[in-house]
C-alpha cells in the first residue's frame, strides 16, 4: 500500500473515532449542556427525585397569557411549555422583550413548588419580519402560536 492511501485510511479512522467520542461525551453531558429545563422536564425530575432542590437551576418557556401579576416591585407569572406550567416569583428588573407569550429563561430555585427567580432573560424567536407583516398575519388569523 502506498503511503498516501495509508495516511488517508488512518485519517478516516481517526475522524470516525473522534466523531464517535465527541458524540458520546456530548450525550453523557446532555444535562449540563442544556441551558434551561422546560416546566415538563422540571416536574418529571421532581417526581423522579433527579434534581437537587437546593441548587440554582434555569427554567425556560413562554410567559402564560393573563398570568402576570404585579404587586409593587414583586412580580409573579407562569411559564408554560404547552404541556406543563410553573409559577415564577421575581423581584427585579425585567428585560424589554418580556411580555405575554414571549420566551423567557429564569434563573433561581424551586421553593414550595413555585420558582423563585433571581434573574429573568428574554428569548426571541427565529422569525424576522416587519411589524406590518406580523399585524397582518394576526389580523388574518394566520399567526402561528409559538408552540402550537
Amino acid at each position: 500500500m502506498n503511503p498516501k492511501s495509508q495516511r488517508l485510511i488512518i485519517l478516516f479512522f481517526f475522524l470516525t473515532l473522534l466523531g464517535l467520542s465527541t458524540f458520546l461525551v456530548l450525550k453523557s453531558l446532555e444535562d449540563n449542556i442544556v441551558y434551561f429545563y422546560s416546566p415538563t422536564d422540571i416536574n418529571e425530575k421532581i417526581l423522579s427525585n433527579e434534581i437537587d432542590l437546593s441548587k440554582r437551576i434555569r427554567i425556560g418557556g413562554l410567559v402564560k397569557e393573563n398570568s402576570i401579576l404585579k404587586e409593587g416591585k414583586k412580580i409573579s407569572f407562569k411559564i408554560h411549555d404547552g404541556i406543563d406550567e410553573i409559577l415564577v416569583i421575581y423581584n427585579g428588573i425585567l428585560p424589554d422583550l418580556f411580555r405575554e407569550e414571549q420566551g423567557v429563561v429564569a434563573l433561581g430555585k424551586i421553593e414550595n413548588k413555585n420558582f423563585s427567580a433571581i434573574e429573568i432573560l428574554a428569548k426571541h424567536d427565529e422569525n424576522y419580519m416587519p411589524k406590518e407583516v406580523s399585524d397582518m398575519l394576526k389580523k388574518n388569523g394566520k399567526w402561528k402560536g409559538k408552540l402550537n
Partner: protein
C-alpha cells in the same frame, strides 16, 4: 484544474487579472448591503431597530465557521498529499477567521444585552462559538511556534482537523439542546423564516463578505509565498 493551480507561480498568474475586480465587488456589495440594512430595511416586529445588528453578526458568524472549514480541508490536503501550498493556504485563512470569530462574539453580545438582557451566557451556541475562536488562536499559535515555520505545519494541520468536530456542534447546538440563542432562520428544512425585505440585505452582505474574504486571503497567500521564498534564500546563504 486544482492540480494545475496547486503550483504557486501558476496560481499567482491566474489570480493577477481577477484580483482587482474581486476587491471592487467586495466593496460594492458591502457598501450596498450596509446601506440597505441600515437605512432601507424594515424594523423587526419584536426587536425594532436592534435587528440591524443581525446584518453583520450573521455574516461574521457564517464566515468564521466557513473559513475554519476551509482551513481543515486544506489541512487534510496537506496531511495526506503533503502539498506545501495547501499549508500556505490554511495559514493565510487563519488570521481572518480569528478576527471574524472574535467579531461574531462581540456583535452578538452587543445584540444580547438589549434583547436578552445579558452580554454573555454559557449556552451551547455561544460556548461552541467561543471554542471555535480558541481553536483559531491555537492554530495560529502552533503554526508559528517553531523557528522554522514549516515545522509547525503538521501539528497545526492535525489541530485544525480535530477542530472540525466543533463545526456541526455550532450549527446544530440550537436544535440539539435548549439554548438562549434562537434556532436557525435561514438554513432550515421548511425554508427561511425571515421576511424577504430583510433577507435581501443579508444576502448582499453575505456576498460582500465572500468577496472580501477571498480578497484578503489572496493578499495573505501572496505575503506568505514571498516570506517562504525569503526564508529559503536565507537558508541558501547559510
Amino acid at each position: 484544474m486544482i492540480n494545475y493551480l496547486a503550483n504557486p507561480n501558476r496560481f499567482l498568474n491566474f489570480i493577477k487579472p481577477i484580483e482587482f475586480s474581486i476587491g471592487v465587488f467586495s466593496f460594492l456589495f458591502i457598501f450596498i448591503g450596509l446601506y440597505l440594512s441600515l437605512f432601507n430595511s424594515p424594523e423587526d416586529y419584536q426587536q425594532g431597530d436592534t435587528v440591524r445588528i443581525m446584518y453583520i453578526h450573521v455574516p461574521f458568524a457564517w464566515f468564521a465557521s466557513f473559513l475554519y472549514f476551509s482551513i481543515s480541508i486544506a489541512s487534510i490536503f496537506f496531511i495526506i498529499w503533503k502539498h506545501p501550498f495547501a499549508d500556505i493556504i490554511a495559514r493565510s485563512i487563519a488570521p481572518l477567521g480569528l478576527i471574524f470569530s472574535i467579531l461574531t462574539i462581540l456583535t452578538g453580545s452587543l445584540w444580547g444585552k438589549p434583547m436578552w438582557g445579558t452580554w454573555w451566557v454559557w449556552d451551547a451556541r455561544l460556548t461552541s462559538m467561543l471554542i471555535l475562536c480558541l481553536f483559531y488562536f491555537a492554530y495560529i499559535g502552533i503554526s508559528n511556534a517553531f523557528p522554522r515555520k514549516i515545522d509547525g505545519s503538521k501539528p497545526a494541520a492535525i489541530l485544525a482537523i480535530v477542530g472540525m468536530v466543533n463545526l456541526p456542534i455550532i450549527k446544530f447546538s440550537v436544535d440539539w439542546w435548549n439554548t438562549l440563542h434562537q434556532p436557525a432562520s435561514i438554513i432550515r428544512f421548511d425554508g427561511p423564516s425571515i421576511n424577504q425585505e430583510m433577507l435581501l440585505p443579508l444576502v448582499i452582505m453575505l456576498l460582500g463578505f465572500l468577496f472580501m474574504s477571498i480578497f484578503i486571503i489572496l493578499i495573505n497567500i501572496k505575503t506568505n509565498l514571498i516570506y517562504k521564498k525569503y526564508q529559503s534564500e536565507i537558508l541558501k546563504l547559510g
